[in-house]
Amino acid sequence: MKKLLYVASNELLLLFKDKMAAVWMIILPLALTTIMGLAFGGLGGGSEPVVIDLPVVDQDGGEMAAAVLDILAQTQGTYLHLETEYDEGTARQLVYDGKRAGALIIPAGFTADVTSGNPTALDLLVAPGGQTAPLLEGMVRGVTSGFSSVQTTVEVTISEVQRATGSYDLDYDGIAARVVATAQERLENPPVSTRVTTVGNAEEEEEFNIFDQVVPGYAVMFAMFGVLGGAGAILEEKERGTFKRLLIAPVPKYVLMGGKLLAQFIVGVAQIVLMFAFGALVFHVSLGGSILGLVLVTLATCWATTALGMLLVAVIKSRKQVHPITTLIVLGTSAIGGSWFPLFLMPKWVQQAARVTLVAWAMEGYNQLMLFGGGLNDVWPDIGVLLLYGAVCFVVGLRLFRFKEA
């Protein structure tokens, strides 16, 4: 055990002595997190359409309800995938569980109220703090506002026609004045409105902070860079000859490898802790309601990352291959795994494909705790998968790793 700690402490000393490591592992992640958080303060900074799954419960079934669905389905810039198969209870539960950012309920009698000019409302359920909630709210309000205008126009037109049929003498100035006055009145008291209800932990539903997504996302990504880069150091040692010297010394192989992996694990944890501390202090990132959950997700993530590093070192032949391969893996899995954008915003097939990455499980855990107000019980599946992921990578990596060159 003592020798394992000697090996680990030497790894950390080597890292400490490497000036560029501080840039890559501390300054760059913090700077990039800050820049990305500020740049993507609103959802969807890119030009590509965003896809959101939105359960819609149509309790009305009328003409106006169908029109609402048509309008939502044709929303520009953001593609809403409307899910009409759920009942209200299921839709509410999906939002509560953080599996959907929101759900729309079209109440019974909606069509009748719109056509008769009675006040009515669409019910939008949103997840607390979910970054798509403001977007959904804006989109639904846009629809209801449109219906208000329609109702206004209908009301004014009908009254004018009634009046006109009596006298056949249209008062164009009067019509215009009444349309404007009615529109103003409807604007202040819209007959068709949106009732927004937050479903989930009400204490966490304060203003959405983009850094709640960006900080864990980039923390996981850079921890992977750090740990996998550290794994590459083992190949560097093999090429330099120091690994041979260690094997010649009276140190069991598992102690040698254990010490090196322990150091990488510590580096990963330290990076994530640093990023979270920075996020909490500077950007007031919400650490969620379960610090224990956060700690366990972090430890499981770093274990899985360290073990993945072990596997990579076992299959990569030379140090020159390390950087391109790890960069491809880290950026690829971060992109689809939810480090850059929440996983639930991705297309279905991406969400499913992302399940093979450890990033997806880590980010699901962090999002559950930090965005959706979940607790420890909500992240056990993520922790379990990450631990299993790490165990598989570790066992396979250890079997394939060649301690000695032929």
Partner: protein, 310 residues
């Protein structure tokens, strides 16, 4: 007393036999050399002796411990100086030695004293706080050597410890090795520099293609196998000229290779006069002439037909 016994060891990688059934013993307090060109099997032999590589066959005993069966018992008693500079360039000399020393379970206070002692011995004490990456090649070699001595080994294995070293540092390393041996340390020294083997080693095993092709003291090898060798540059191998050279009284053998006649002689000086006379008589132009006095190089050439640096 025999400290190291090597009995018929071999090492095979795929279809390649890197070491093919070699045997030798090393006496306590001896500097035993393995001399041979690159690829002869010297490093593979060292790797097997220090339990880094398991032999395909054969037995190795060091201090009466079976190296293959009980590597963990052998490792604390041996020191290895690998051919590569096996040091961390980002660390300084003390940090390097402290880390390697800890792996041998040396108590902290003893280790601190041992590090200081070794750094003074190899002349690096004043530079001990500088990062190794800023050391010269010779300084790195000396620190590499010191790292192999941290555990006060009974048996030190040096794998070409002077490769890439300037003459001044090389001499310092020679003196250091001789001083260690004077204190009773048993050493296995591999090299492809015959001067080093002649200067340092009590006995030398000449290796080529995985075999030990001769083994004795350097002087004995030179006396029994060494001949004066004359290299003569010619334009084309003339069979007639070769036959005439072979007929000269001081000449033992003649071979032609790549524009050079390699003439093995009993006495190079005497033979040279006859050879020049023959070339004048036959009006054959000489493009180059080189005389090699009897030494391990000429022993190797005679045994293998190759040069050590081939």
């Amino acid at each position: 007393m025999t400290l190291v016994e090597v009995n018929n060891i071999s090492k095979t990688y795929g279809d390649t036999r890197a070491v093919d059934g070699i045997s030798f013993g090393i006496q306590q307090g001896e500097i035993f050399g393995l001399l041979g060109p690159n690829g002869a099997g010297k490093s593979t032999t060292i790797n097997m002796l220090c339990a880094y590589t398991e032999p395909t066959g054969g037995q190795i005993r060091t201090d009466d411990i079976d190296v293959v069966a009980e590597p963990e018992r052998v490792k604390p008693t041996i020191g290895v100086v690998p051919q590569d500079i096996a040091l961390y360039p980002d660390l300084n000399a003390v940090e390097n030695l402290r880390f390697f020393g800890r792996l041998y379970d040396i108590p902290a206070d003893q280790l601190t004293r041992r590090i200081e002692e070794l750094l003074r011995l190899v002349g690096l004490y004043e530079k001990r706080k500088g990062r190794v990456e800023h050391y010269s090649g010779g300084m790195k070699r000396r620190l590499n050597l010191a790292a192999g001595l941290l555990n006060r080994p009974k048996f030190l294995l040096l794998d070409e410890p002077t490769v890439g070293v300037d003459p001044q540092s090389r001499n310092a390393i020679f003196e250091f090795i001789q001083a260690l041996n004077a204190q009773g340390l048993t050493i296995l020294y591999t090299t492809h520099y015959m001067e080093e083997a002649e200067l340092l080693c009590h006995r030398v095993g000449v290796m080529d293609e995985g075999h030990i092709i001769a083994l004795n003291t350097p002087q004995h090898l030179i006396n029994t196998l060494g001949t004066g060798i004359i290299h003569i540059g010619v334009q084309g191998g003339d069979e007639g000229l070769t036959a005439q050279l072979r007929a000269l009284p001081q000449v033992k053998a003649v071979t032609y290779r790549d524009g050079t006649l390699i003439v093995e002689t009993v006495d190079a000086q005497q033979a040279l006069l006859d050879i020049i006379g023959l070339f004048n008589e036959t009006d054959t132009p000489m493009t180059a002439l080189e005389i090699l006095e009897p030494n391990l190089e000429s022993v190797f050439i005679q045994l293998t037909g190759k040069q050590l640096r081939d």
